[in-house]
Amino acid sequence: MLTSDYVPGDSVVHRARPLIKVGLLFLVCTWLFVREGWLSLAAAGLVLVAFFAIARIPPKIVVAAIRPALWVLGLVFVAQLFLADWRFAGFVVLRFAVMILAASLLTLTTRTSDLVEAIERALGRILPARSAEAISLALSLCMRFIPRVRDIFEEVKNAQRARGLGTSWRALVTPTIVRALKSADEIARAIVARSPDGPHVR
């Protein structure tokens, strides 16, 4: 659950700096709306296909990347058929497909940890050290909490079942959250206790 769909590789696309990729993605998507037309869409599409080829992403993975969006794109297509014509409907849907695939390319060729590190470094440059540190702590803590919350939820579910209680959403969520909050407060105290060079003292 905590791994992304990263496809290992050593291509130019893989090696490019994460923030450059994010920046390019942003530029391309803006461009597709500002310069609305088949020509710019086709150009962006071609560049994208080239990048996928350079990064050697297997076609199967490309299909998997676009599949979750298909039913929404279908709806949009139908809506546009009534509104405009099939050509414009096709254009809007293809534009979405290009943007989604461009963003997927970023995810497929960039390790999550590299992207997180790049974001942390960029934030460190624009924010005071203290805030950047807080953000980096929050990211790690969240990764730590995901399995912990899942465990707490499972325990609550089993306890409710053992007591013969039905498993209504409310009966599951409330105790899970109260226990998670208690655990979080204890973790906050542990962070303070484990940081003898600062947090205690204002």
Binding site: S4, A65, F96, L115, A134, V178, L181, D185, A188
Partner: protein
Amino acid sequence: MTNDTTRDIVLIALFAAIMAVLGVFPPITLPLIGVPITAQSLGVMLAGGILGARRGALSMVLFLVLVAVGLPLLSGGRGGFAVFLGPSGGFLVGWIVAAFVVGLTIERLWPRLGHVNAFIACVFGGIIVLYAIGIPWIAFAAEISIAQAFVGSMPFVPGDLIKAVIASAVIVTVARSYPVITSP
């Protein structure tokens, strides 16, 4: 970092994690209209309603950053930058504002917090404000009219109302047994 900031960071991280865990539950499909209901928008209401406006909104920011960097934490295992560029990207970004508004409303109502008040806060922030961001976004990105985007989004409302009922019950119980928001 003071002790209070440390606690805020921990709570923000906790609710981002709760969002991720809620994403594991398979979407329930409403029988008649065939629209998938996910548990995650429940998490948006809970984050605002339990942590308050500021921390609730920041927990959404944190969660969306983790989604954006590629972790498949959205329900159905979706993640990566692409989800923000689809037609429903506005609803994801809207979670930040929605959590903030739910939190702000709950904070204002705090001394008189009850099931009805909490439900109103959840509907206002978690449905009305959220749709007010999501619908224009769809209209712009898919080049349809606001009215059409509105009609297309309505099938999700019954599910969101059910979530507002659950969320308000949870918010009220947690406020009594382990309050995190302190009254203004």
